[in-house]
Amino acid sequence: MTSIEEKFEESKRLGLQIVKESEEERLMTLSVGPQHPGSGHFRFVIKVDGDYIVFCDPDPGYVHRGEEKMCEYRNVIQNIPHLERPVIHDSANINYSYSLAIEELIGIEVPRRGQFIRAIASELNRQVYTLYWLAIYGIFLGHSTMFMWPTGDRELLIDLLEALTGARVTHAFNIPGGVRNDIPEGFKDRCLGQIKYLQKRFKEYEDIFYNNPLFRQRTEGVAVLSKEDAIKLGVTGSVLRASNVPFDVRKAEPYDIYNEIDFKVQYMKTGDCFARAYVPLLDMQESCYILEQLLDKIPASGEVRAKLQPNPKGPPGEAYRRVESGRGALGYYIVSDGTPKPYRVKISVGSFRNILALPHLLVGQRLADMPAVYWALNYWPVEADR
């Protein structure tokens, strides 16, 4: 029998599972998910040798709802509410790229004030999502304070978004042509106050969670994704930026008013679980900085949305537009045939791209590290399944 270390080195080098037939019986097959033992609504089959994972086969689709097919039966406005269902915590961003693509197809200019409000909503929403993700990451690593703190702070942002959009999570706020309504009175001061509070809290998060020796031991050096592999696997978002690739759609292809905003792309070089967990926090800090600028530069008055035809349609055409969401680049490929209903809608989401890294990272890890590796991928099963 070859030594166990040799076996993983081999497994790891090959990227996917590799078990000899005669050794099958030594292995134990575990089905993780799809109902929540640590995976959300996502199933993956792993095989363990002792407590080392030697095989991983993701099996998404538990919450597949055929969003892309549904789009072909509704016009571009009717599509807005159901398209944000895949990721209700980040609904402003998932509608953002949809709106951009539809605007490109129909040929709409968004008023400047509308562009700012859209960016404000999506930055706030990214933080709502990231705080939710951070809470889950905390509880799955056994840190219940880190579950309660972000969940509580997220509530403040949700209140802010409720004042802005009228709904707590599914806003249907970013629409083709701009935003649904103007910002309420006193919103700017309230928002700035929350940002100040959050910035103070982020330091406390670092103290209690990121600098916690237990957390560090469980994540540092675990499941390293090298820069070459990250590029080859085509991962995106915080997973990519944790592997020393400073890519952010807001910088690479600035949409709306992001080319007027001064911000840095936060990235880390180590590529381990700690980097993947820390980059979202850096992103949130950067997002606070962006929000301050947005609130400062927003025009005092003006239209917030362009008027659309009752049943908007454009000439036949194709568009691919993307934004940076909480989980990375979120692209919409839309084909229009000149009718009010899209001919084909393809949603390219960060979660779906990032699961390709899961077998790559899990093989060779211990079973106890599985939650740390899996949740650090910033994966949202409902979004991946669409």
Partner: protein, 244 residues
């Protein structure tokens, strides 16, 4: 009944099959060896059974309008749409296109160019060569998405690879649309998994959603749909949602 249902192995977690795939992917020396595979005619009756089950009605709205969709013409008249949709290609995009044109000549059709977006169409037998070229010489290193679109009127399915670049800073905002078309009744394309590892799950999704069999892909099998799915691929236009 899904197309090509009888050809795919249904083994999940089999030991031998993923091994072959991962060795070919990780071994970079073998990447160049992959020659474009000509689409072989299928001897199965899957195409006929499918058309029997759900005949494409010529009067259905998508079919009636698809000819006016961009680049929806068959290969013969594919050069027509770009003439009217291209005012003046931006210089950088034109440079990229010229590099591809110089290498491949008339086998590559430029369908449209606008800032940050280039759409080129190639024949299925050329796609692996072109993909290798844009990866090695132009720097497009990953696929963001693989989208299939059904055009029943042309009896074709179009598959689009949205390629992006992480390594070249000046290409960061660019998306290259590498498209090819295949016959709808016998939808087969060579896989790009040996060129871009990132297309693995996207192609698998495209297989089950549109019934495009990717030759050389290790796992043309069910991915997102339920395990007992027994109907035609749902993103084909002749699959109708009940009640709408």
């Amino acid at each position: 009944m899904s197309t090509n249902n009888n050809e795919e192995p249904k083994k999940v977690g089999a030991s031998s099959q993923p091994k072959d795939s991962s060795t070919t992917v990780t071994d970079s020396a073998t990447k160049q060896r992959q020659s474009p595979q000509p689409s072989s005619p299928s001897s199965t009756s899957s195409a006929s059974t499918e058309s029997k089950q759900s005949p494409a009605k010529p009067s259905q709205p998508p079919a009636a309008t698809s000819s006016s969709a961009p680049g929806a013409g068959s290969r013969g008249n594919a050069a027509a749409p770009p003439a009217k949709t291209q005012p003046e290609p931006p210089a950088f995009e034109k440079g990229l296109i010229d590099q591809i044109k110089n290498k491949f000549g008339e086998t590559v059709k430029v369908l449209f160019i606008k800032p940050l977006r280039i759409k080129i169409q190639v024949d299925p037998q050329d796609i692996v060569g072109v993909a290798n070229f844009v990866r090695d010489n132009l720097g497009f290193d990953h696929a963001e998405s693989v989208a299939g679109t059904d055009y029943p009127k042309d009896n074709q399915i179009e598959v689009i690879y949205h390629l992006g670049s992480y390594t070249r800073q000046d290409l960061a905002g660019h998306i290259l649309w590498l498209t090819t078309r295949t016959d709808r009744d016998d939808a087969r394309l060579p896989t790009l998994i040996n060129v871009f590892k990132s297309v693995e799950y996207h192609e698998r999704e495209c297989y089950e959603m549109l019934g495009v069999y990717f030759e050389g892909h290790p796992r043309n099998e069910r991915f997102l749909l339920p395990e007992d799915w027994a109907d035609i691929p749902p993103l084909r236009k002749d699959f109708k949602i009940k009640g709408r």
